[in-house]
């Protein structure tokens, strides 16, 4: 054990010494003190809703209307389906629909007026043209327009056995196989000397930092597509900060149970972090494919194959001095790789920028926690510091490898 290992202290909580809940002070019950402000707030809201004091503030402000086109499906020749959600503060009425700057007949699966957070599917019998871009503009009753784009028109994949198989295969190629190939480095990692294990650990840290930051950036990008009411950037915050806190709490609980953070636990944590990242990545792939933005070319699959193989290396490096069972290794591979399949399936069925944002942010947060744990493992196992030249080179190499293999994956 390293000198840095912190002995885990049993929680000597001061709870026993605290005054018992429910006790009264000067005759006022504690529950009343806790609830009184809430009751007052509820009463105030009720009065506002009834009397409408906003009328005092509200004059002739132009209505704040916000419709978001979440996605456009092309289920068959001559038909468009537009999924739209009202993410603004006011109800919005869809009065007319224009496709490629032409008014077009259409129908909605419900009232033309969308209350806050309501969504509709608008069906338009429009003769879209294979391989060409199209734009849809929804004209509200106040004349504002809300647009959605079809980047490249192609028939949306029907969700059938063939679709699921295609994406299962894609997920296996892009997620599962590379992770398992990476795991095959285990014998190699076990044979190299301490110095090189340190280097590989640094390399893992480097590539995780790259993955984490790119997850966070992607989350921020999709956050801007989230309807305003769902507060995309708050979702990023929740995912990116909440996840490491939760993982830390779980880690602390486990450490108390088992007495230490085992390298296998760190490996599992890395696999989980990578898995969450791959879930977000899978969502993006499924959505792009369903909306015709990417074709599933050989190039794309090879790109993901190379890119993700390094992830497998990252998982096994902490296990350099362990003798994990084969079953554990397979579970690690599944944990890291399989979410790609899940993500691709979900992304094809339904696309919600809000969920994609959340998953990506959770992935980023998980990776941040993993990097932290890995740093601790490094400190515990290694004689040298992370700042040693070879290890710094490792971190940089990790990032450069991710960058270079990332060149093969279309944005």
């Amino acid at each position: 054990m390293s000198k840095l290992e912190m002995p885990v202290q049993p929680d000597s909580t001061p709870l026993a010494a605290a005054p018992s809940i429910g006790a009264t002070q000067r005759g006022v019950p504690l529950w009343f003190k806790g609830l009184a402000p809430l009751v007052l707030l509820a009463a105030l809201v009720a009065v506002f809703l009834r009397v409408g004091p906003l009328g005092v503030f509200r004059q002739n402000f132009p209505p704040v209307e916000q419709l978001t086109v979440e996605r456009i499906r092309l289920p068959q020749a001559g038909l468009m389906e537009v999924e739209v959600v009202n993410g603004g503060p006011e109800p919005v009425t869809v009065a007319q629909v224009m496709v490629d700057d032409a008014n077009w007949v259409h129908s909605l699966n419900g009232s033309r007026t969308l209350e806050r957070l309501e969504s509709r599917i608008i069906t338009i019998p429009y003769p879209w043209v294979e391989g060409e871009p199209h734009s849809v503009a929804l004209v509200s009753s106040t004349g504002l327009t809300f647009t959605g784009e079809v980047a490249v028109a192609t028939r949306s994949p029907a969700i059938d056995a063939r679709y699921l198989t295609t994406f299962a295969l894609l997920g296996v190629y892009a997620g599962v196989i590379p992770v398992f190939i990476g795991l095959l480095w285990l014998p190699f990692v076990r044979s190299v000397g301490r110095r090189w294990i340190d280097f590989l650990l640094s390399l893992t840290i480097g590539l995780l930092i790259f993955l984490g930051v790119s997850s966070l950036i992607e989350a921020t990008e999709t956050a801007s597509l989230v309807p305003a009411a769902f507060q995309g950037h708050a979702l990023v915050l929740l995912g990116a900060v909440g996840t490491p806190l939760l993982l830390a709490a779980v880690g602390r609980w486990r450490a108390r149970e088992r007495g230490e953070r085992s390298p296998l636990y760190v490996a599992a944590l890395i696999a989980l972090g990578i898995g969450l990242h791959n879930l977000g990545e899978g969502l993006a792939i499924g959505t792009s494919y369903a909306s015709g933005e990417i074709a599933l070319g050989t190039f794309l699959v090879i790109g993901f194959l190379l890119h993700n193989t390094t992830e497998g290396l990252g998982i096994v490096t902490p296990l350099a001095q362990e003798r994990p069972r084969l079953r554990s290794l397979i579970l690690l591979g599944i944990l890291a790789g399989l979410p790609t399949v899940l993500g691709a399936w979900i992304g094809g069925f339904t696309y919600s920028p809000a969920w994609t944002t959340l998953f990506l942010a959770v992935g980023a947060g998980a990776i941040a926690q993993v990097v932290y744990e890995l740093g601790r493992l490094f400190a515990r196992q290694s004689g040298a510091a992370l700042q040693a030249p070879l290890n710094v080179a490792g971190v940089l190499a990790g990032m450069v490898i991710m960058y270079l293999t990332g060149l093969l994956v279309p944005a």
Binding site: A95, Q96, A102, V105, P125, Y126, P127
Partner: protein
Amino acid sequence: MSEPSLTRRDLLKAGALGTVGLAAGGTVLALPGLAQGDAKAGQGQASHHDMMTVGQLAPGTPDPTRFLTEFDTGNVSRLPSGQILREYDLVAEDREIEVAPGVFYPAWTYNGQVPGPTIRCTEGDRIRVRFTNRGHHSHSIHFHGIHPSNMDGAFEPVHPGRSYVYEFDAEPFGLHLYHCHTVPIKRHIHKGLYGAFIIDPRTPRPPARELVMVMNGFDTNIDGENEVYAVNTVAFHYQKHPITLQKGELVRVYLVNVTEFDLLNSFHLHGNLFRLYRTGTDLERYEWTDIVALCQGERAVLEFTYKHTGPFMFHAHQSEFAELGWSGVFLVQAPHV
């Protein structure tokens, strides 16, 4: 106008099933020539019924069909000199207007309507227009034609709550227009302050079925481009409610272009050609054609007679304008016996 035989909900359902040709709503259903789109339903092909607004105007909306033939000839009296005096009242007021079914636009109007009333008189008449501004911005009326400088409406903005009297002799005969000339002019015009101004020649033109068509557009989301194009404000109105003509009757269209933001607008007639009288200031025909392009403020008198019965389209020959609402149908019927 016949009543629509289907409810709006039915029409919407029809659209959802891809039964093209039913969803246009209203009277087009009665047109045999336009119903052929049905045959192609479900094959990914579209007809003119699909490229259309949905729904009907709210009850109480000024009827564009009535506007076609509404002429304000003023209060007529004689001056001591014997000259005919025509007095008009125009009031500028802010009003929300419907530019497509369900789409409302915060307009500035003359007498609560866009376009403003069609002012009509005869060459040599004395015109007296009492203008009152009940809007929230300064406005004016600038008439095209020959008149003194202080009657030109360019340099005398009329402030909210104030009035002004424009008085001049009507000359020359022709098809003119009037519009607000207060800066920023672009906004004052595209918000709706314009109308047609017809000065008839002393010897009247031959009797005809006369229709006023003011080509206009609306930038509903204020991005400097029109979302709605039309004649007489409402997108696709005359396609949903065709204008009925008699075979063989003389038709005269007073065509004015006030479209803002676009360099040109145009009128194209199907199944026929028209005699073109540019600005209407000459009784000699300028050209025999089926299309005329007009710059903003330009206007022309068109005369034609239909040789065949049936529905005939008329529309801007800028396809984009046609598809955003500037399309209509003449339904030519056999003459009454």
